[in-house]
Symmetry: C2
Subunit: 238 residues, 2 copies
């Protein structure tokens, strides 16, 4: 390992591993349960594949992650080692810090694809009705610079959640029409969903029963409940 800082201080040695470009993001993905290369890549789409490979190898040499070839022979499976799990706590703390002390909804950060990719992991399965529910998201206010899709289909069917960016040809049960920035604020706990609905920034329509139930399935970001600096008490967990 090429030493960047030339210091024996444990902070310096740890920083050489952790404080590299994209590394905290990659760890975040692993922490949230991603195991496969392209799964990790979907959570960090702006990293080039070559660089992602390199970071994964670096983390493996540092014994923060370990990988094994998959049974089906297609690629490897990545997971955190015990050391990596402990680094994960730091990732979490960093997230809490970001939640408390930074603003996060500048236009350049808004990304509908990442939002639905995140939401997919935060569906309260046990509250879903039996059978399949199809939710279609239409985003307004997506930064023009982005070539990303503005429409996403989320297929909820216990015990899995699938995402599509092309029409799967299924009947849609719930339509969510949302100003992207508003739904991100809701997601991060900066604004109650009901508030955004009242203001017209988010509209939920379709099957009446399922539409009413939808907000109860969608848990918010795990960081939504982090108390902000001014707040005397913490909020209820989402």
């Amino acid at each position: 390992m090429e030493t960047v800082y030339g210091q024996f201080c444990p902070v310096a040695v740890a920083s050489e591993i952790f404080a590299e470009r994209w590394t905290p993001i990659i760890l975040r993905e692993l922490l949230q349960g991603s195991r496969r290369f392209n799964e990790i890549h979907k959570g960090a789409p702006r990293i080039s594949k070559a660089l992602l490979v390199r970071r994964l190898r670096d983390l493996e040499r540092a014994e923060v992650i370990a990988s094994t070839p998959r049974a089906d022979g297609r690629g490897r499976e990545y997971r955190l080692t015990p050391a990596g799990e402990e680094l994960g706590e730091i990732v979490l703390q960093l997230g809490k810090w970001g939640q408390r002390w930074t603003s996060r909804v500048e236009r350049q950060r808004l990304d509908a694809g990442l939002l639905v990719w995140d939401m997919r992991r935060r569906i309260a399965m046990e509250r879903l009705p039996a059978g399949r529910v199809v939710v279609r998201f239409d985003f307004r206010g997506v930064p023009a610079a982005q070539r990303h899709p503005k429409i996403y289909w989320m297929l909820l069917e216990r015990p899995s959640v699938d995402l599509c960016v092309t029409d799967p040809g299924l009947e849609v049960d719930v339509y969510v029409n949302a100003e992207l920035s508003a739904l991100v604020r809701v997601w991060l706990g900066d604004q109650p969903l009901a508030h955004a609905v009242r203001g017209g920034e988010v509209k939920i329509s379709g099957d009446p029963r399922l539409s009413r139930a939808f907000p109860t399935w969608l848990m918010l970001s795990p960081l939504a409940a982090v108390p902000r600096p001014g707040e005397p008490n913490q909020r209820r967990a989402a």
Copy 2:
């Protein structure tokens, strides 16, 4: 702020601030009480001044640190904001992680100058005798690549500790002759001082009474007491 990751996720936003080259090291220095430009620089001698200035400005824009012009008109005084203090906890955690999961005494990391600069902050003032005590450090095993001095004088005189790299011309009370790697291991809690002395890696001589007392003045690194992975219980704080 140019967004690197293009993500609204608080981990990403925080990483753009924290996970930059040298930034954790700079925060560590501020956390340990450095307030002035050159003081910070001494704790991170391999950073160029231009880059240090830039990082300090970046951190100030992120409201992690704040600076005010000094009363004497010479430069500014830097300190952590409340947000910065909370980031400091993450720096500490990162140090604990490094202490637990990394090895730190490869030759390229060994730096006598940084060691004495660190030790200076960890002298138990209240245990010092009245009057001035002069300790001279002679290091063996300093990596040849380094042009750094191998001899340091530490002037202990309540309530301050001064360092010299040139002979201050004072009578020396305590001589410490040490293999650099061994003293670093002692400093980081990897080896008891008594052990290194018995092994001949560290020799303490000079005034008998003061030499015997010296190890009781020198506290170890704040991270020395961090329990290692295998250990069932934590050690006593140093």
